[in-house]
């Protein structure tokens, strides 16, 4: 199956984007953690100051394996900044539906994103992977990615809303 196109996501893709976000979350065993709604995605991605950008993989009607879905993969990304090297592209989510794997769609998405990074003069593309996700880690390492947590000792920290509120209220 060679027929698919990659294109910039449009507002009407939002229901499919949310569906794929939830499928990816399920694959990572975190389905109940998705709090985003279609309304959030629409406002945050297609307003005046988008918080994210999205590319989607679309298959024509005659190649649809799963009833009713033409959007079968996506990647969500945004631009970040490293005060040492400048602009970076951060890959937040990257997913292709199981039925459509092995056809080079994932590779093509990654190629498009890398191209976007290079065209926007980003020095690097960053993302996180769970260490238990061996298949994905191999996929990325085969393409030249390095593991900063292992190699340089970087640990990702997070502060959630409740503690963020406490911190912001301190004098």
């Amino acid at each position: 199956m060679a027929n698919f196109i990659l294109r910039k996501a449009e507002p009407q893709d939002v229901p499919d984007i949310l569906r794929l976000i939830k499928e990816l979350a399920k694959y990572e065993d975190m389905e109940d953690q998705v709090k985003l709604t279609e309304k959030d995605l629409l406002e945050d991605g297609f307003g005046n100051h988008p918080f994210y950008h999205c590319v989607v993989a679309d298959v024509p009607a005659e190649h649809q394996k799963v009833e009713g879905y033409s959007v079968i993969g996506f990647a969500m990304y945004y631009f970040t900044y490293d005060p040492w090297i400048g602009k970076l592209l951060y890959l937040e989510d990257f997913y292709v539906m199981t039925e459509y794997r092995g056809f080079g769609i994932g590779s093509e998405i990654l190629k498009t994103l890398s191209d976007t990074a290079v065209k926007n003069r980003c020095s690097s593309m960053h993302f996180i992977v769970a260490e238990s996700n061996k298949a994905s880690i191999d996929f990325y390492k085969r393409r030249g990615a390095s593991d900063l947590s292992l190699q340089e000792g970087w640990r990702l920290f997070r502060i959630d809303k409740e503690n963020l509120l406490k911190l912001s209220a301190e004098e």
Partner: protein, 171 residues
């Protein structure tokens, strides 16, 4: 000690650049800094900034041994979680050694939290080096948690030749 926390301006880029180099030296990676004061001015203070900055300033009579009144900074930008939506990423947090222990670091972090919450963010993320015990302890005390430890997420990077090759579709 008296200090103020305020938004960074174009004129602060000289001191931000100085402190970025001081922080890089503290993290033992001074040779990795490629960004110049000019890059910071262009990337942080044009129409579509890639980052935002806040500065900690002390009055003239408390200036540093070398005559600096700008004694700390934080660089941050907005990011996006496909689970929870808008997030704020604290890229750098630094206070000059002679001004530590006076609540300036906490005040900078508190300001980023306030700005993040005001922008509709529900979480703040950042990275810490695993050998940086004093920073790790400081952050854990503020209610942060270690995503790398708890969920096994590793920070990955694809840069330079690897990024170019990926963009060209070579494997």
């Amino acid at each position: 000690m008296d200090f103020t926390i305020r938004a960074a301006t174009l004129e602060d880029c000289k001191d931000i650049s100085r402190m970025i180099l001081e922080l890089a030296e503290y993290e033992k990676v001074l040779d990795q800094v490629k960004i110049t004061q000019r890059d910071l001015e262009q990337d942080g203070f044009s129409k579509n900034p890639f980052f935002h900055g806040i500065i900690a300033e002390v009055p003239e009579h408390h200036k540093s041994g070398e005559g600096h009144t700008k004694v700390g900074y934080s660089l941050y930008f907005y990011s996006y979680s496909s689970f929870k939506g808008r997030a704020v990423y604290m890229e750098d947090l630094y206070v000059m050694p002679e001004f530590r222990g006076k609540g300036i670091g906490k005040a900078l972090m508190s300001k980023v939290s306030q700005l993040g919450l005001a922008a509709g963010c529900t979480q703040m993320n950042f990275t810490v080096l695993d050998w940086n015990k004093s920073s790790l302890d400081f952050y854990l005390k503020q209610g942060c948690w270690d995503v790398t430890s708890d969920l096994g997420y590793h920070c990955m990077r694809c840069e330079g030749d690897a990024l170019e090759q990926l963009a060209q579709g070579d494997l």
